[in-house]
Symmetry: C2
Subunit: 193 residues, 2 copies
DNA sequence: GTCTATAGATCGATAGAC
DNA sequence: GTCTATCGATCTATAGAC
């Protein structure tokens, strides 16, 4: 499984890069800070990522996308036991975003002009999340229009919960908000079951 | 009314500064871009804001706080005709954030470490918004615990709607999400009226 | 109070030794 | 493939002419 490593393990630098981008944002993350975060010299970073910061962020986004695809999107799209999939999604997301202490890199990229270079990927991430969640609800017999509304509301609500929890410095608010969304979706599933 | 101008009109530079900070974020906004946005040379900017970028952002936040206090918080805290106040809040917010095309400077400051210098002001802004909205609902006879939940949900939801609308490049999603929150609050008011 | 010029630090990125 | 040294550009902030 690890025999066909394409080149080398720039893969292993991605978690540290992601954390640095999360903490400082794309503009705020300097090569010095990225070097410190990864433990790699600038030369090594440019060896792995010839395109510099932008290529690093691109790789981070691809990595995040892959994690979400496996852990979140596919279980929803698969559509066996919608209620369990919805429950798992909220649990995984709460843990992933550390109850709102951890920023969503993708969401924050959309907020300022520095992220415009990644707008296609940002858009796809949210579009797929909403679409996967709506599909899951539809499998649970929730009417399509309502399913889409609820999915949009939940995905948006998670982003808002991150913003609020960070602003207030209070993870409890994140968990309350997310739990309400979880309940709303499970109620809808029960209503049409 | 305009006779007691304290010093000079650094006030008049604030809208342009705010727009620049909105568009590029705090780190991304350079003095060159702030100079261009305001039409003032760097020397003039430092004359008005000796503390540099940080003092400019502080002034912008104070200015935003003042606007929200007058347009949003006070009508909610005043508490005459809760339903009208809630309706007006969502209308004003939708216009202010330009249906999500416009970023919330305060919310985005909380997302990365560059905003830590302003964390107290960021926290107060959201705390007061939630508290004002909850108070308004309580005046409308919504039980306190539910009022607080609904207020937290609505304020958080607006932030999420901005993130999602920006990410998708779609103001319609902002308006849909905000309308649902508006409806939820008005329904609660009707239920306990 | 406005501007231009520029200092001093730090930025992203590259070169080259090992 | 790793590092250090360093480039030119750009950053914040200041100085000083007007």
């Amino acid at each position: 499984m690890s025999s066909k490593r394409v080149l080398t393990d720039r893969e292993s630098a991605l978690p540290a890069l992601a954390e640095a981008f999360r903490e400082h944002g794309f503009e705020g993350a300097t090569l010095a800070s990225l070097s410190k975060a990864t433990g790699l010299g600038k030369g090594s970073l440019y060896n792995f990522f010839p395109g510099g910061k932008e290529e690093m962020m691109e790789a981070v986004l691809e990595n995040i996308d892959g994690w979400f695809a496996n852990a979140i999107f596919q279980p929803l799209e698969q559509g066996v036991d919608p209620a369990a999939a919805v429950t798992a999604m909220f649990d995984d997301v709460t843990e992933y975003f550390r109850s709102g202490r951890r920023v969503c890199v993708v969401g924050s990229l959309g907020l300022n002009s520095a992220g415009e270079a990644f707008s296609a990927r940002v858009k796809d991430y949210f579009a797929r999340w909403i679409s996967a969640l709506a599909h899951c609800l539809e499998v649970g017999r929730v009417p399509p229009a309502l399913a889409l509304d609820l999915a949009e509301e939940a995905v948006s609500g998670i982003q808002g919960a991150i913003v609020l929890a960070r602003a207030l410095g209070d993870d409890a608010s994140f968990r309350r908000i997310v739990r309400r969304h979880q309940t709303a979706l499970l109620d809808a599933l029960n209503r049409y079951a």
